[in-house]
Symmetry: C2
Subunit: 620 residues, 2 copies
Amino acid sequence: MENKNAFWSSILENVRAKMIPFQLAALKDEIPNAEPSHAIRNFEIAAGVAEGEYHGMVFQDSDVGKWIEAAAYSLTQKSDAKLESEIDYIISVMAKAQLADGYLNTYFILKEPDGRRTNLRECHEMYCAGHLIEGAVAYFDATGKREFLDVMTRFADHIYEEFGPGKKAGYPGHPELELALYKLYHATGEAKYARLADLFIDRRGTEPNYLVSENERNKGRYHWGGLDSLEYTQAHKPLREQDRAVGHAVRAMYLYAGAADSALSRNDAELSAALFRLWDNVTKKQMYVTGGFGATRHGEAFAEDYELPNDTVYAETCASVAFVFWARRMLKLKRSGKIADDMERALYNTVLAGSNLNMDRYFYVNPLEALPCISGESPDYKHVLPERPPWFGCACCPPNMARLLLSINDYAYTFADGKLDIHLYVDGTVTRGGTTVTHSGDYPWGGSLNWTIECDSDTDVSVRVPSWSKENTLTVDGTEANIVVNDGYAGFRLSKGAHTVNLSIEIKPRRVYANPKVRADSNCAALMTGPLVYCLEGADNPSPLCALRLADDTALHAEVIREGVLDGMTAIKADGKRLNPRDELYTEEPAESTAQTLTFIPYFAWGNRGRTEMRVWINI
Amino acid sequence: MENKNAFWSSILENVRAKMIPFQLAALKDEIPNAEPSHAIRNFEIAAGVAEGEYHGMVFQDSDVGKWIEAAAYSLTQKSDAKLESEIDYIISVMAKAQLADGYLNTYFILKEPDGRRTNLRECHEMYCAGHLIEGAVAYFDATGKREFLDVMTRFADHIYEEFGPGKKAGYPGHPELELALYKLYHATGEAKYARLADLFIDRRGTEPNYLVSENERNKGRYHWGGLDSLEYTQAHKPLREQDRAVGHAVRAMYLYAGAADSALSRNDAELSAALFRLWDNVTKKQMYVTGGFGATRHGEAFAEDYELPNDTVYAETCASVAFVFWARRMLKLKRSGKIADDMERALYNTVLAGSNLNMDRYFYVNPLEALPCISGESPDYKHVLPERPPWFGCACCPPNMARLLLSINDYAYTFADGKLDIHLYVDGTVTRGGTTVTHSGDYPWGGSLNWTIECDSDTDVSVRVPSWSKENTLTVDGTEANIVVNDGYAGFRLSKGAHTVNLSIEIKPRRVYANPKVRADSNCAALMTGPLVYCLEGADNPSPLCALRLADDTALHAEVIREGVLDGMTAIKADGKRLNPRDELYTEEPAESTAQTLTFIPYFAWGNRGRTEMRVWINI
């Protein structure tokens, strides 16, 4: 965070320099005191280049797919021969591990050779295939090397043979392959991959229910346990009939993302309408202010509408990462300021909080309240770790974060013939087709947003103006423009050539209040600055944080931190009060209070100064 | 509740007329659609007068002991030949079931004849013995019939033989026998029973830990599962070294009650000091405003200090019943207004809420917030039933309530030579020794407390003046007396003869606020009138109740309810507001509100008008 004018480039530099090598080391089981991954070793054993037994989750392969995808994005930004040769080695091993018929999944190859495709509900074969396909497409795009893409095309063909039109009516127990097949379609031009994704989406939840029949067939031979919730696997009803997000949050988000690709590709208004209904439900009734999703650890799932506990929360990092995937695709269906605002909320808060600032420790669960002696300790709070651990046995989140962050420019812009949409403010340069955009500025700490845009034809530019910014000034080529904001975007036309564009938006601390139906946030406010949600930490404020109060009318002061690991970030200071400690449990007089300066730091930076109490929603 | 001047006599009439027969029918498995008890049938099978197999919890016998105790108290208040003959029958069966060596426990007699006394930690033999002893003493006191007392004396002798001084160093895995042995000592004059109780209390938690060794011996042959918490069984350290209540709340309360008997009997200052420390911890850091105890369902246990969730709460009815037992005994160690106030809090709120007004349905768990679609439904809320069910497989609470309510006068007064302490205001007449006290009044709805006291010698009377009553007037024989309140009691001296005493205390709605450390009650108030805690119900107020607000300075109006099942009770009405529903999840403006009359009813009467939302703590 040293350079305030390079928020994203400094993050990306860190991800490339620290996160990518650290995660490779984790996948190679080289991190001391961390849970072993064995993910690369599994491929080596399946390829016959190493000895041993399969180890890890049934979906361990996917971590390698996600990491290669992230590493491939890294290579597009900065060449790295050593990294590339590491990837090439892994790909060569994968190619050796692939069976003659195209099948590739180390769990089934090594542990259950007869079980292939018999347990779609539980065993993640297609989910792993999806992540490997995404890795293969990204690596092909980054290097032009075809080997991995060819391997995964063969596996996709194999799946098509088995589950394509007129074949077995199955679909992934954990959605993900759908959006990967769309990527494969775009990479290869082969429409059958898109059609297979469409089939998976349309079959899901229809009667007779494939997963129910499969569960019957598997009676007594389950991987984890028998079917107890069709919602969990997103197979309770067809997506196009749904209007409420239920079940496993990550499964839901991947499914919605793939379905958005499908709705766009097929111009499917019914499917698209369902996705917008679900968007409304998710973002207006089930989203944490930090852009976290999935309120309950039971099934890592969505809960009841407005039921958003801050302390027993799940809010898996992967759910927010996948929400960003979904959001990006929804923006292709419809350019919408609300969708972009929501996407940015998840990105700047829960996604970024998923990693420590040093990029080598990660959260899986992202609480909005962390409590000493309770979080990570009490039975209902075991999952809410108050500190990021060295690694996870189920390490889905870290490489998911890496691949999203390193491809952030794909989320920042939509390039089309004669059109450019700017959704996010990401410093750096991007060229697509005949258009080159360079962004610089002090965002999210400040609101001075500068672009140079060079286009080889006249271009209609739409730049997002966040809904929370009330005063905005747009300058195009040095001349202040009249801002007309249409569904969250200010539009202007640039002639062929090079231009400078400046947008000044309002970045100042503000309060937000939850819907009165959210009982967990009653009588509380959260502080935000720009897209950033803030929190109180015990490191800066006296415990317990629940005894602190911030009145509705107190001034909020932005103040740059000038020490420690948060150096360069903007804190918010406010004159609040602290209810005085007392002996009695219940009294007839409200507690007396003492003046107390309150210090809030960005939520994404919490948990970087040792184990400490943390709270997003402050009592008012 | 028809007669406002007969709060307790009308409850007792209902308990005798409805609760006692209903519970007998339940124990005889005669309630349609209710979980079968089988408790009496188990004795019949053990006695050889019926055929079949044991059914029920390992502690099923205890329900019969508790019910007989309650029924015996009922007989002292109102003779009932049919009820007495039902009890005599059960006792005759018990006598037949008793083994030649005095042993009596139907689970072990029928299911594990070789397992007797091998699993004190899990199998409740001594707990059941305690409850049967209490029943036997009560029945002897009520009727003068000795059979049951003789049966239980033989069993107590048998236990003494096995675990008395110099014998096996065991103690009950679930405390209860300790206080029962003190009752047996008082009934029989046999000091060895008191000494056995003392031994159990002193051995508990000492090294080498008996329950740990026993657990080792039982490896692989557990009833529920291996030892995972010494706190759960109150065996983590000697009671006299403790200063924080931990583990299973009901176990703790029974232990503390027995220990108070023991401390009094032995004049044991060290043990007494530990009990006062624990009292402070329990009532100042771990008590719900309703007098509920045990914040977590995990181990039905105390949680961290100040960790008092209103929605996932446990607050078992039995824990509050046993707290009253403990309180009564603490008042013998020291007359203390705080202790009596705390006792009354549990009694008028959680204990009374344990039953519906019709006395035939019961709560085991007593939430302070019940939520439609969540309480009783969501995984973390399965235990929080929003309605009282027909009966329980584990039915410890209903007869526990019955025996406490029917012996309420034992909690209201302490009679001693030339001394009378009045702790509670219970309408009706009580005679002990040469003193007869009759109380009448409109309590708890009003504060006009009237006594006639007839004593055969000069008597120092101490009448409790609740800490929440700020304006009090005492009149003795028509003359206003100068009130000097000493540790919560106003003292005066009555000469031999008959006197009238009137105490006027302040009964008006008031707010209470929780300690700022209780995060669940932040920015909330609870309403009370006299000893009664109030709550909002969906039946009277718009949902969601979390969207209602009551300002700190609004007038609270007492208003008598004149319809429905709550007819005759006092409601509290107040001008509050309701935050307006809105579409957005997070906004920069606090929600707007609409004026809303709020209606609060006594907490003990909640859940008598169908399934409805309920909330004790209202946002301010």
